[in-house]
Amino acid sequence: MLVLISEKKFWLSIIGLFLLISSNNLQAHPHVFIDAQIKVYFDANGVKGYKITWTFDKMFSELMIDEFDDDVDDQFNEQEQKLIYQKAFSNLKKFDYFTKILIDGKPFEIKYITNFKAQIHDEVMTYSFFIPCSIAISRSEKSVKIYTYDESYYMDVSLTNSAISFANSNVYNITYQVEEDENKRYYFDQINPFVLKLSLRKK
């Protein structure tokens, strides 16, 4: 059959197949799936920070619950949460908690997070934590981008418009949009991360 195709078609096929293999090679291998939610908190001066919530896939949740819910009461008590924090969360500081923030194009360094919680809802595990990030908001427009992704692509982190919410935001004009950023790529330049784009100014 192969001898019947033209040389041009043959080379095009090879190029196509290589692209398919190499890219899928890099894309389709997450082992854990996270649905992220971002809640932006404001105060009188502007942005106060972001509460990130990760909902893990059911299979991984089951394994984590089996591992850490020692008293099998379908919730993580204080001691269990502490252990989860130590063993299965604090390491993410090295990976900026899968979160990159740009304020007017400049990177914001996440020095610490607060309010870590690991919870179980309907046999699904969630993590939530707060990233303090004070940004003064005036009448001139401020642009904030919040990327959420795991550079190693061990975990697939997805984000949608419906996963975004705001608190104490009534004195601000807010426009927001979630998309896969075309201009940024990770994991060997193959994958576009999800980004929350915010345009903020005082009313």
């Binding site: 899928n24 404001f42 299979m59 604090s90 104490n168 576009n192």
Partner: protein, 321 residues
């Protein structure tokens, strides 16, 4: 020009394929418990939450077209299949059995096909290996399936070991990175050795001035050695699937699910091996009229394939050391 295209594409593929790391969530270092910052901010935040306005939401724009959609689709399908297995696994008790079990096995097979399209399955090594061999379709299918089965079975073995042995002796065991680390060192070391072995063989041919390399068919031993080296790294996907079923108490089902997942992965890896075999066959057809060029081409691509295998082995090995 042809050689340049092959060289560029294979290099691109080789460089771009670096094995996925361990789960970044898990810490192998002891974190002091006082580093967990817990302040009362959360209550303040929840109180603040009572005042709401309506920010303007812009619709998400679709970028990238078919290829990017394909990539996202792959991840979404994996997520969907995993979720489906989780639901059916938990429902086995109430459903009473065979139907749910059959579904889990079928979905495990599909999950294997899609899962193995991702990195971590050393497809480039398989691809490169067949560039170095006499192209035989049967060998491609054989190696693809053996690799997948070893890959899945090593994942299953580690999952069973963790479940029955390590878990009994440690308070924290879910991080399998340490178990997998030495397997990876062994696997990559072996891949380098095979690459060197192939390279030395072809260099000998080169200096002897071989007349026809087409006589070099891959032996069963060579296929097994390569399949073993490539597959021995435990498949994290299989580990998660089988660990999940083990936590539900389904020991036999976890074994069968791993086997069905291996069948699915075998299908994909066989396709990669076949692709390599067919590309080489076709290239040889283009050059069939000139035996001298064929021999030079065979030798060149075989040496290149051997070097690529060594390169991948070294890159991966350095990554885990």
């Amino acid at each position: 020009m042809k050689y340049f295209i092959v060289f560029a594409l294979v290099t691109l593929l080789g460089i771009s394929s670096v094995l996925g790391q361990g789960n970044p969530m898990f810490s192998t270092e002891e974190t002091p418990s006082d580093s967990m910052i817990s302040i009362s901010l959360d209550e303040d935040l929840e109180a603040a939450d009572t005042i709401q306005t309506k920010p303007v939401m812009m619709e998400s724009e679709e970028h990238g077209g078919f290829f990017k959609s394909l990539l996202r689709m792959n991840a979404d399908y994996q997520k969907m299949l995993r979720s489906n297995i989780a639901d059916r696994g938990k429902a086995i008790d109430s459903d009473g059995g065979m139907m749910a079990v059959s579904w889990i096995l079928l979905i495990s097979f599909l999950y294997g096909i899609i899962h193995s399209l991702g990195p971590g399955h050393n497809k480039v090594v398989v691809f490169s290996y067949f560039l170095t061999q006499k192209p035989k379709i049967r060998d491609g299918i054989l190696m693809g399936n053996i690799t997948a089965f070893i890959h899945a079975l090593s994942g299953l073995t580690v999952a069973l070991m963790i479940f029955y042995v390590i878990k009994e002796t440690t308070t924290y065991s879910f991080d399998q990175s340490q178990v997998g680390r030495w397997t990876m060192v062994f696997s990559f070391g072996f891949i380098i050795i095979i690459g060197l072995f192939l390279l030395v063989g072809y260099l000998k041919d080169y200096f002897k001035g071989a007349q026809s390399l087409d006589e070099k068919a891959s032996s069963k031993k060579s296929i097994l050695a390569m399949a073993f080296s490539v597959g021995i790294i435990p498949c994290p996907g299989t580990m998660i699937l089988t660990s999940f079923l083990l936590t539900l108490g389904f020991v036999k089902l976890s074994v069968f699910a791993a086997l069905f997942m291996a069948l699915g992965m075998g299908f994909t890896i066989s396709m990669i091996a076949l692709l390599s075999v067919l590309i080489k066959k076709q290239l040889l057809r283009f050059l069939k009229n000139d035996q001298q060029v064929v021999t030079k081409f065979q030798l060149g691509i075989s040496i290149f394939g051997s070097l690529l295998i060594i390169f991948i082995g070294v890159v991966f090995l350095l990554g885990v050391l």
